[in-house]
Amino acid sequence: MKRFLFLFLLLSSDIEAQQPLIIDIISSENFSERYSAFVNGRDIMDITDFSPSTDGSHLEIVEMVLLQQALYLGGETKKVEFRPRNWVNTTEFDSLIDGRSLMLARTMWHEDLLDYRGSLYVSDAVIKFGQYEAGLYVSVDNQRAQQLIPSELNQLTVVVNPRWHVDWRALVNTPVSVISYIGPWEDMLAMVETQVVDAMMINFSVSDHLDLNFEGKLFTPLKNVKVILPDTRHFAVSKAHPQGKRVAQALQRGLTVLSERGMIKKALQQSGFINHQTSDWQAINQQMVVSQR
């Protein structure tokens, strides 16, 4: 009996070891295609160059790769399988709290995680305070907005979803006029395109000229102006999930290694998230950063 039991445990552990880690990705965003194109059959651990292969924000792909590399480096050698799930938004943690999901392959704002730290393992910051910068994108046709000088920014209307707390806080601390809108991201872009509002805060595009092409519509950031998103971003792992603790620990270890190797910063820079083209642009809410202890 003892023998059988041992065999069972051995088998079961082996079975468990063979089972992939199921990590959620948001189905609506559907990065699978772009992710596959980026990885292009390479071994995840071989990826050291994060230069973008497509236009558009690249952060999601970078995070998926970094997550896997961190897990591996942290000792979690299981294969990662991404499972598209219907997350309305990243601040809904129900499946994580319940343990139905292990984790989401995206970093989340720290302030959204605070109340759930009893149910979630929160990793060290992948994106540090002050690292996350975004541009104020206007329609290329909106000449008036593009010609505003810094002292005239109070004349600029910027649409923002008040549920995006960090975005909201960032903009409230700038001179611009904030217009709140709760609805699809595409609608907000349409508002900018039709000049219902002047601008929307968007991550800087990875294209050389920083312009953003969305379904044939061209948007351009206000030159020399950027906004700092005043928070840190972290991976969150379910405490209730059976693999949660182990994965969280591995992740933390791996992130430490990656951070020490400078890989995270390198990845963010190469991907264009920390954009060298805007490094000397004026952050219009700089005061939120400079006063930190």
């Binding site: 129900d94 709290i97 319940d98 720290h110 302030e111 995680l113 605070l114 109340d115 759930y116 730290r117 009893g118 149910s119 707390h165 909201w168 806080r169 960032a170 409230v172 601390n173 001179p175 005043p230 809410n285 005061q287 939120m288 950063v289 006063s291 930190q292 202890r293």
Partner: protein, 619 residues
């Protein structure tokens, strides 16, 4: 006298009495105001602000009547605070601005600073953060070196504004600024500790938050700090939530929600409800989580409504501001237009004036020219007239002179020429003799002196008037008898000189004889129809005396000779004539001698006398 003193004393007494009464009334009012003010302070400290509304108006009226500006200002602050707390923001803003203006008018810097503090508080609730930050900076700057507790209060509110704006590090810094200047004995350190905990919780620094909360001794919180108490427990519950101590968090929150005071603070109430929902959610108590989420939702709706009202207020104020701006802009444009019009009018006026001035100047110039021309013309005319007059005058003068001359040459009685005339023409008469020698006797000039005989007797007998009449008539006889070319002169008195031109000696004799005869035969009629017979005697000589030596004897000497002849005629007869001429002998003596001694020369026949006297002349 005594009566007057009484009246005066009574008046003085009355005046003293009334001033004492007035003073008493004044001091009563002062006491009342002081009482009210003390009660006001106490009520506010105990958190009974609403009750103060019952006597706030009366207190303010007292303050105004006693000119206690500070109390008046404080009354506005308190009323504004109450209005703000119960959502009447517009009134709150108005009252605070009123307090600010009043403080400015009395120049009370401290109250000005406090007014800005209250305004910052209001603007924070109205979510006008930039304005709130601007306002709070004023009292910070004012109190920083004057009053540490007040300065700390201002930093606390600056921190709260930053916290609400989501700028946590700035909030942290402001809170730290406050902590640095206070002492633990100050009440405000409780507020600062709770505020610090709230900030740290937002940043996820749960440990730091708990440490801050650990500094708060709840026993020190009095009635005025109900909200702070609630905030303390909310922060405590949150810190438990963040560390996963869910049950403790829920328990703390539920106790607070049962506390009736929490109902007054909707914001904290909603946060407590949300906290419980989140806690239950994580505990898997879905029903309870749903219940509290629903409650939270209701509270949140109410908050949203309140906020919406604020937004509406803001929009209204924006709208009013825009409207005012538009009006101002319009007014500005209108003013600009008016200014332009005014400028144009002024320009037009200036042009008009210039034009007028030009016209006036032109007119003046024209009139001056016309005047000048007229003046010149008049002048010229006047000159011409003057010249004319001068000419006329000159002519008149010439005539006058002529007349004068004529008069001076004429004897007024006989109207004959006088001696002066003779002297003026004698040279002209002699000119022919001076130019060439006279060869014949015919060419001589006879000078005859005719004298009325015994004229003195006539005057003496008949008077001078008759004498004059005789002279007149006598001269008329002579004038009638002589030729027109001969010259008859009244030589003086009753003596006449006749110059007979171009006459020979014998012709002269005849003429003179005719004269003598005419006179002697004439009957002189006098005034009273009397008649008189008058005779005359004549002496004459010819010039030149010697035809061969015409210049040897002057005409004066010739007249002297004629005068000699006259004497001879008078002496020998009267009513006679005697002519003297050169004898046959040649006159070699000096002419002066011949004339002087003509009687000798007559005797010696160097001179020869002719006469009508028939007897021999007696020399």
């Amino acid at each position: 006298m005594i009566k007057t003193v009484y009246i005066f004393s009574f008046g003085l007494f009355f005046m003293l009495q009334s001033s004492v009464l007035i003073a008493a009334a004044g001091s009563d009012e002062k006491k009342q105001l002081a009482l009210y003010f003390a009660k006001l302070k106490a009520d506010v400290n105990l958190g009974h602000s609403l009750q103060t509304m019952g006597y706030l108006t009366e207190l303010r009226a007292l303050a105004i009547s006693q000119n206690a500006k500070e109390i008046e200002i404080e009354s506005y602050f308190i009323e504004a605070m109450i209005k703000r707390r119960y959502g009447a923001y517009a009134d709150g803003v108005k009252l605070n601005h009123y307090a600010l203006e009043l403080a400015k008018s009395v120049g009370n810097e401290e109250y000005i600073a406090m007014a800005y503090y209250h305004l910052a508080h209001l603007e924070l609730e109205l979510e006008r953060y930039t304005l709130a930050l601007e306002y709070i900076q004023y009292p910070i700057d004012f109190f920083i070196n004057k009053n540490a507790e007040r300065a700390a209060l201002m930093f606390l509110w600056q921190s709260k504004i930053y916290l609400t704006m989501g700028s946590y590090y700035q909030a942290l810094k402001a809170n730290k600024d406050a902590l640095q200047i206070i002492t633990p004995s100050m009440d405000i350190h409780l507020d600062l500790a709770v505020n610090l905990a709230e900030i740290e919780l937002k940043l996820g620094n749960t440990k730091a938050a708990k440490a801050a909360l650990g500094l708060v001794n709840l026993k020190n919180l009095d009635g005025s700090k109900e909200r702070l108490k609630l905030q303390y427990y909310l922060a405590l519950a949150n810190s438990h939530l963040q560390t996963g101590e869910l049950k403790q968090a829920i328990e703390i929150a539920q106790i607070q929600l049962k506390n009736p005071t929490s109902l007054r603070f909707l914001d904290e109430q909603a946060q407590l409800q949300y906290l419980i929902a989140v806690g239950y959610r994580q505990l898997g108590e879905h029903k309870l989580a749903y219940k509290y989420l629903k409650r939270y939702s209701l509270s949140y709706d109410a908050l949203s409504l309140q906020r919406r009202n604020n937004k509406v207020l803001q929009l209204e104020s924006h709208y009013k501001f825009d409207l005012q701006n538009q009006k101002l802009e319009l007014l500005g444009k209108d003013n600009t237009l008016k200014e332009q019009r005014l400028a144009q009018q002024q320009q037009a006026f200036a042009n008009h004036r210039l034009q007028q001035q030009r016209w006036v100047l032109g007119t003046i110039l024209f009139l001056s020219i016309v005047g000048f021309v007229y003046w010149r013309w008049q002048n010229q005319r006047y000159l011409v007239v003057l010249k004319q007059r001068v000419i006329e005058r000159t002519q008149e003068l010439a005539k006058s002179n002529e007349r004068l001359k004529a008069m001076s040459f004429t004897d007024s009685l006989t109207e004959l020429h006088n001696r002066h005339y003779f002297f003026s023409v004698i040279n002209d008469l002699l000119i022919d003799f001076n130019s060439s020698p006279v060869n014949t006797e015919h060419q001589g000039l006879i000078f005859a002196l005719i004298d009325i005989d015994k004229f003195k007797n006539i005057n003496d007998t008949f008077g001078h008037n008759v004498g004059d009449q005789v002279l007149e008539q006598f001269s008329n006889i002579l004038r009638q008898q002589i030729r027109s070319e001969d010259l008859l002169i009244r030589w003086g008195g009753e003596e006449f000189l006749l110059a007979i031109k171009d006459a020979s000696y014998s012709e002269a004799e005849q003429i003179i004889e005719t004269l003598r005869f005419e006179v002697a035969s004439h009957v002189f009629t006098l005034n009273n129809d009397e008649s008189l017979k008058v005779t005359c005697s004549t002496g004459f000589a010819s010039y030149p005396l010697l035809a061969t030596h015409p210049h040897l004897y002057s005409w004066e000497q010739i007249i002297e000779l004629a005068d000699g002849g006259l004497y001879l005629a008078k002496e020998n007869q009267r009513d006679a004539w005697v002519g003297i001429k050169a004898g046959n002998s040649i006159l070699h003596q000096q002419s002066k001698d011949v004339v002087k001694n003509y009687r000798v020369h007559l005797v010696q026949h160097t001179l020869h006398a002719s006469t009508n006297i028939e007897r021999t002349l007696n020399y």
